[in-house]
């Protein structure tokens, strides 16, 4: 195969994200369109920039701010092409949102903590909520609002994070765009750095 030029690869990237529809890992994209880490990073940044134009109806949803995603864990990061929230009004009639059910107080509470502080372990979540969360988390997993992955530091436990489906429903490009995101991060950090000792809760 001849070396593709950059525009051709940008086209490939757009076509791939369009075909799959779901979130794709960076590794998968790199393999399918045949680029390495640095080139993928450049392509994604360029695509993101092009999409910022007002005449474009789409945006990239990612695991975090794009420039920060190309660290040692880059291969597992995900990206998805989705419509911009400002177009939701005209699209509502076409796509029925599956997430019309109201959230119970327990779901809402667990969901917001996972959204703001994910990836978060169940025990940490339970400490913050002050209540056992096995079944609430199970329910959120079943509804596809949160996802889990094995905790690299604790073989028998999982870490929970907001799913792309949740972020789409909330209309943000990544969890860092949630309102007052930084404020809540700092709040938690200062709480946990306080001299008090956490008794082994739960």
């Amino acid at each position: 195969m001849t070396e593709s030029t950059e525009p051709q690869k940008l086209g490939n990237l757009e076509a791939l994200l369009f075909i799959d529809g779901e979130a794709l890992t960076f590794k998968k994209i790199a393999t399918v369109i045949g680029v390495k880490k640095d080139e993928l990073s450049a392509l994604l940044m360029r695509l993101d920039e092009m999409l910022r134009d007002d005449s474009r109806g789409l945006q990239l949803m990612t695991d975090g701010p794009l420039p920060q995603l190309f660290d040692e864990k880059w291969e597992a990061r995900k990206v998805q092409l989705v419509t911009k929230p400002k177009h939701a009004g005209i699209l509502e009639a076409f796509v029925k949102s599956e997430l019309t059910e109201e959230l119970t107080p327990a779901s809402l509470e667990a969901l917001s903590l996972v959204a703001y502080f994910g990836p978060i372990s169940r025990s940490h979540l339970e400490y913050l909520r002050g209540v056992n969360s096995v079944f609430t988390l199970r329910n959120l997993l079943l509804r596809g609002l949160v996802e889990r992955f094995p905790d690299p530091k604790n073989a028998n436990a999982y870490l929970y994070q907001p799913s792309f489906e949740l972020l789409r429903h909330l209309g943000v490009k990544s969890k860092e765009e949630l309102p007052d995101y930084q404020k809540f991060q700092q709040l938690l950090v200062s709480f946990e750095q306080a001299p008090q000792t956490e008794p082994a809760q739960q």
Partner: protein, 243 residues
């Protein structure tokens, strides 16, 4: 198979506690915690509002509140360093919880805002792909069997969670009964020192709430621990709380 979803008033004990404090327009502090203890216990006593999985956590908070309350009613009662730390921790966590509740409100607003993004259905072209069979190299009979075994191990773990919760409820009951026994000891010696009708009536309300709580637990857990009997025998409460 569908989950039964019941709308509960509170997501957990911290929210219930905070609600009680805020409804009295108080700040989170040891004093306000002592003040809402009776209401909190009454809330637990109405067991139908709390599901089993979260009961242990409600009782855990209740046991700390009882300590706080006892301390405020009975100045002679000294708490261990660990108990003091538990009280401080509850107060601190409640303050954090109060702040974090904001996050829930923000998520709720966005959830309802209608500003959603939409994605294309997964792999819309899938129907174009011809039927194929592609098992990969790792799929074997033993891999399937191993995986099935793992699933059932996970089921057992889930069942154990339930047992753990049950065990926790029971041990907390014991802890509460210990606290009450201590309070009774201290109380007998210091009752005469307590002045004013209000303090005494407050103690009675507290006691009744505990009795009620204990009775409810015995019913639902089918526990034969004679916790309530002991109390009755010694205290002779004036109501048929132990029907």
């Amino acid at each position: 198979m569908a989950y039964e979803i019941t709308i509960q008033k509170f997501s957990g004990p911290l929210e219930a506690l905070l609600d009680l404090i805020e409804s009295k327009k108080l700040q989170v502090s040891e004093i306000s915690l002592a003040e809402v203890t009776d209401d909190f216990l009454k809330y637990i006593a109405k067991r139908e509002l709390i599901d089993f999985a979260t009961l242990a956590d409600f009782i855990s908070v209740a046991s700390k509140l009882i300590l706080i309350k006892s301390k405020s009613l009975l100045p002679d009662m000294t708490l261990s360093g660990e108990e003091e730390a538990e009280i401080k921790d509850l107060e601190r966590r409640l303050k954090l919880y109060q702040e974090l509740k904001q996050a829930g409100r923000l998520i709720q607003d966005r959830w309802k805002s209608g500003e959603h993004s939409f994605a294309r259905p997964y792999f819309m072209h899938m129907t174009d792909v011809a039927a194929i069979f592609y098992p990969g190299t790792t799929l074997s009979l033993s891999a399937v069997e191993l995986s099935a075994n793992k699933i059932f191990e996970a089921f057992e773990k889930l069942a154990m969670e339930t047992e753990t919760i049950k065990g926790k409820v029971i041990s907390l009951e014991e802890k509460i009964s210990e606290v009450i026994a201590r309070m009774k000891q201290v109380g007998e010696s210091s009752f005469k020192n307590l002045s004013g009708e209000k303090s005494i009536s407050e103690r009675i309300v507290l006691f009744l709430a505990i009795l009620h709580l204990a009775r409810e637990q015995l019913i639902s857990l089918e526990q034969t621990a004679n916790f309530s009997d002991i109390i009755i025998k010694h205290q002779k409460p004036p109501t048929p709380a132990n029907s």
